[in-house]
Subunit: 159 residues, 2 copies
DNA sequence: TCAACTTTGATTGCGCACAACTTAATTGTG
DNA sequence: CACAATTAAGTTGTGCGCAATCAAAGTTGA
């Protein structure tokens, strides 16, 4: 059996390993949040949406989707569930009736205080120091941006 | 308004940023794989399962779940779909009738060659060098292992 | 002015993920 | 042996995530 000794094989393996590590880590994290969020009856994506609303105030579905990188196919049902539970409210914009503005209810605001304890409790399982976390965050951001740029670039021009 | 000047706020923010970066990056990656895997009519999780079978040969659902960090609630329907399409076959183990051994069919083996082109095509969108990728992989692994260890440790003893 | 186009959000359909539960086989123990 | 406990898969129900499609509202230009 011939073995060609370039770094290619290794690099491709490295790529696969990074992708799988990412897939595993992402699921592990939502698992870490789950028991904490269960107390508030929230899922991790719902918590992310509320974080944005808590920090930035009311915004349209479109804006929220832009911040979270989620489309209406994901957001619409999720916001509907949050609205049913009285955490948020949706109403059509008056300037542009196509847009739907999402805003917190009193109940949604109140959740913020309960949720404020979550970061402390998650932080305990860090296993990485501040420098490593910063590097990790930046690497992930660079990778995501590159991938998203490639996707939009490739969309009209699939090689 | 009192502002306490410790590094705590920043670190908690950093944690949130890392978690969200992970969530985004994971989805961006499956998006990157999607058009390539569409040609083989595979999803990313299905591709991962086949990678394991290609590299390690037949194994039980349990073993596959251990490698991929997935439980039977996820694997059973997924393997059923792959079996329906004739990519894999499942049969009860003869030593232990509780176990189901998963193995590739001829068609599943053939897919391997078509899939062999995928890593090259994904690698193009790297945006990170080998060192950064290695660091990323190792950080993610450390983080995932810590989280999983904490979860199993906490399970019987929720603080 | 009004038909063509674009934008926004909702809907549909499918495939994960995962908790909770069920069934069947095996193991351990008195 | 009997029988409780454990283990392996499968099933059910819920909630994403996303492609594809749709309808309504707004914009544009001949």
């Amino acid at each position: 059996m011939m073995v060609v000794m370039t770094s290619q094989g290794g690099e491709l393996d490295l790529n696969k390993q990074v992708c799988f590590a990412l897939y595993r880590a992402s699921r592990a994290l939502t698992q870490l949040y789950r028991p904490l969020l269960d107390e508030l009856d929230l899922t991790y994506p719902q918590y992310l949406a509320l974080l944005v609303l808590w920090e930035r105030g009311p915004m349209t579905v479109r804006e929220l989707g832009h911040v979270l990188d989620l489309d209406s196919g994901t957001l619409s049902p999720m916001l509907k569930r949050l609205a049913t539970r009285g955490v948020i409210e949706r109403k059509r914009s008056e300037e542009d009736e196509r847009s739907v503005v999402v805003h917190l209810t009193e109940r949604g605001d109140a959740l913020r205080e309960q949720a404020s304890a979550i970061p402390d409790r998650v932080a305990g399982s860090a296993a990485l120091d501040v420098e490593q976390l910063t590097a990790l965050r930046d690497s992930l951001a660079a990778l995501t941006d590159a991938v998203n740029a490639r996707r939009t670039a490739t969309r009209g021009n699939p090689e």
